[in-house]
């Protein structure tokens, strides 16, 4: 069988040699897909940081100044508002 340590050092060297763009292209060609959307990366849009894992709830087109904020400064959506009201009614 092939020498595993040697094989891995070849693989590692080839991957490390690639520029970030080349690496993405290579891995996409292999069949992987990446989380590259701004929301998934947790980037700032306006003053509001869109939290990871809140995909589909927060619209980045709404200006941050017009959006109500929680205590921690994160944006919340109408769904959150609805949940909050429900919770308040229950208690």
């Amino acid at each position: 069988m092939i020498d595993i340590d040697e094989a891995f050092s070849i693989i590692e060297e080839k991957i490390d040699k690639m520029s970030p763009e080349e690496r993405v292209l290579f891995l996409k060609k292999m069949g992987f897909e990446f989380n590259n959307s701004p929301r998934r990366r947790g980037v700032r849009i306006g003053r509001v940081k869109i939290r990871r894992g809140r995909r589909g709830r927060v619209s980045p087109v709404v200006k941050s100044s017009k959006r109500p904020k929680t205590k921690r400064g994160y944006a919340y959506s109408k769904i959150d508002d609805k949940n909050r009201k429900t919770k308040a009614t229950n208690t």
């Binding site: 069988m1 070849i10 693989i11 080839k14 290579f26 292999m30 992987f32 897909e33 989380n35």
Partner: protein
């Protein structure tokens, strides 16, 4: 070294393969060892797969340095290292609804094939029955198969019909 493999298929396809001495290469995003020609080590597994009517008994000639056994400790070590390297280099989409275990498996194996062009045959064992519920300890029976990169490594082919095999 020589490897003995069994490739299950229909009689029509088997005759075509033997006359042309050329196997069709499987290449989809769901192939467990990525693109190549697949063989089972056990004749029963080849017959049971899709209830094939015939199997093609084949001899594959490969150099030691061209063979990678994923069942060995070293093979698993290599797979894990490559898996870690890829997972740490990019944020891989792990959306389970869109990407199945098979697709990720295929993508890692395809990376290994492409980064190690000297490798011509990869062997590994996979569960022979589908999973009914996810558990940590996978005790399902396994069957060993291997994937050959190119037709030129297959040196001998012979058709065996289902009825010819004695119990």
């Amino acid at each position: 070294m020589y490897l003995t493999g069994y490739h299950g298929t229909t009689l029509v396809n088997a005759n075509k393969i033997v006359s042309e001495h050329k196997f069709h290469t499987s290449s989809s995003d769901y192939e467990w060892l990525a693109d190549g020609i697949y063989f089972y080590c056990n004749i029963e597994d080849a017959l049971n797969w899709r209830k094939n009517e015939v199997v093609i008994h084949s001899l594959i000639k490969v150099k030691d340095a061209e063979f990678l056994d994923m069942d060995s400790e070293q093979g698993r070590k290599l797979f894990f290292k490559v898996y870690n390297k890829i997972a740490s280099s990019q944020e891989i989409n792990e959306d389970k609804e869109r990407f199945s275990v098979q697709q990720n498996q295929c993508a890692i194996m395809r990376s290994i094939w492409n980064l190690l062009p000297n490798v011509k045959v990869i062997a590994a064992s996979f569960p022979s029955i589908p999973s009914r519920m996810p558990v940590i300890f996978d005790a399902r029976p396994k069957r060993r198969e291997f994937c050959v990169r190119e037709n030129s490594y297959i040196k001998y082919v012979h058709i065996i019909k289902r009825g010819e095999i004695n119990d």
